[in-house]
Amino acid sequence: MSVQTLTPARGAARTIRAMLGRSYPRIIGANRERSWLFYDTVLPLLGTVAFVYVYKALGAPERFIGYVIMGGATTAFWLNVMWSMAAQFYWDKQGGNLELYMVVPCGVPAILLGMSLGGMVATVLRAIAIVLLGSWLFHVDYSLVQIPLFVLVFAVAIVALYGLGVTFASLFLLWGREAWHTANLFMEPVFLVSGFYFPVSALGFWVGMGASIIPLTLALDAMRQLLFPSVHPGLLPVSWELGILVGLAALFIVVARLSLKKMEFLARREGRLSLRF
């Protein structure tokens, strides 16, 4: 039972076990307290529907309803990263979990990935609910022909997004309420510049390119181009957007690793990993 010499294979196995272990409270929690089914599906759908009616009232082309539904579904992933993973460290610090996470040998990245994996259950269901219910209610027609490319864009975007999330999480090692406010500060501007509810090209090319630092911006734009070919005013060609997303994914993974390391060092130096000394 004792901790044995760590080979790379044993290290990888431990990382996977730790991920699954940390995902468990989320998954079992979702099963034990099912009120989230209402809060995480019906209520977000209402927010999306509100935008649909704005477009309908303005007499916008039908494809805009599809844009809104796609945006509403993708919002779930952004919220999962920010609140179910990064900001979770705030609560874990308050509850005394963070210091235990720091002294267990699996490492913080495995625990963060476990959090996001556990949160995926609710996130995916929320996204699916919005897509299915929204599309059914408003009779949205999709013309998805390049399914593998669509899946690839989505997968790369998720990797980049979680890299960004881990970077945000690292801030919570050093800061508490300050990081919480920073996370809050990002929410609405990101909703705006990422084009969750409208084509990002409407912001203009350079603003759109600037907003592309948020992986979902280009991911949404690429996915909309694939879902509504020939009618969606894309910011860049899909292949370019995919290439940039791959770059962002690599960048954020590196940044996340460096940031975790640096923030852990600073937090240990400043005595911020624990509430009590």
Partner: protein, 343 residues
């Protein structure tokens, strides 16, 4: 050699001139923003297999020392090794070999059951599920929590919760277990159960070590092979409980219960009285005396009689760590706590 291939002669814990300061903010009470010195040159060696205690009041630096040793805090200067590994440069390797349990800990997730919570933590150490659950069940039986294994963590009493935390700390079978006031706030029975088990655990495993912080004198005396008394970030004494008591053996000690004493009765000035501590006890006063010799008790009794204070009991006692602490620090542990705002 141990599990990590390290020689067994390598101490479990070794610190050299360890200093930790905290920055403070400028305020009317602290216009210079003077840093707080939490550890002030701690030099300490804990051999393998030892149950070592750190005894001191709140704010003495006990928890800070543990947090440095478990890699949660960087030292400001000096050196600290755990099983021969530097806590600054080899933090990950240290984490492979340690575990920590703190008193009053509310870690974990209330919606999980006891068994689920412990399984989750076992996964952070990479333990396969089957053996992990077997070990969890075994440990839960030992601490008397097996019948509660399917109960939600949120429904546990403080004592049950702390027993569960103790199981969590023991799950990875660490080389060094750090216990930071593990029985604080627990009822007598729960505290006794926990003390009994950790004593058994370390004595059954000759290569495992425990560093315990406490401000319960009796806990340190009962459990620890050696005790360091820490005060204001410095170790003021370090030895076996018996040897420490020997240091306080000069003179004799008496404990009396009397009618309530007030300021009118001053025993400190009685001939032969080195120190007199009074505290209220169930409507009476408990008087703890350090006398130069046995003969001085007669003067004390006369003084109490002169002030018409009845004596309910009078007992000559062996010096305890309490007396050692008083001698070293100049005040009782409770007094030191009160000056810092109590526990």
């Amino acid at each position: 050699m141990d599990r990590g291939g390290r020689a067994m002669t390598v101490p479990a814990i070794e610190t050299q001139d360890l200093v930790r300061t905290y920055r403070t903010k400028r305020s009317p009470h602290n216009p210079e923003a003077a840093p707080v010195v939490a550890l002030d040159g701690i030099t300490l060696t804990v051999p393998r297999g030892e149950f070592f205690g750190l005894l001191g009041p709140n704010g003495a630096g006990k928890t800070t020392l543990i947090k440095v040793l478990v890699t949660l805090l960087l030292p400001t200067s000096g050196r600290a090794n755990v099983v021969g590994l530097d806590v600054v440069t080899q933090a990950q390797a240290v984490r492979e070999r340690i575990s920590m349990v703190s008193g009053g800990e509310h870690s974990g997730y209330g919606l999980l059951t006891v068994r689920e919570q412990l399984w989750m933590f076992s996964q952070f150490y990479g333990l396969p599920t089957g053996p992990a659950l077997t070990r969890i069940d075994d440990l839960l039986k030992v601490v008397g929590l097996y019948d509660e294994r399917h109960r939600r963590v949120s429904a546990l009493s403080s004592g049950m919760r702390q027993k569960m935390n103790m199981v969590r700390g023991l799950l990875p079978d660490p080389d060094v277990l750090f216990l930071d006031e593990p029985t604080v706030g627990l009822d007598v029975g729960a505290a006794r159960d926990i003390r009994t088990y950790i004593k058994t655990w370390v004595h059954d495993r000759p290569n495992r070590s425990i560093l315990l912080t406490t401000h319960y004198m009796h806990e340190a005396e009962e459990l620890c092979d050696r005790v360091a008394i820490i005060h204001k970030g410095r170790i003021v004494a370090c030895d076996t409980p018996a040897a420490l008591r020997q240091r306080a053996a000069g003179g004799t000690y008496f404990v009396l219960t009397t009618e309530p004493l007030d300021g009118a009765v001053t025993l400190q000035d009685v001939a032969g009285v080195d120190r007199a501590d009074v505290r209220p006890l169930d409507g009476k006063s408990e008087l703890r005396l350090h006398l130069r010799d046995d003969g001085a008790i007669a003067s004390v009794v006369q003084t109490l009689a002169a002030h018409q204070r009845r004596i309910f009991s009078l007992q000559k006692v062996e010096p305890t760590l309490e007396e050692v602490f008083v001698q070293m620090v100049g005040q009782r542990l409770e007094e030191a706590d009160e000056r810092r705002g109590g526990p």
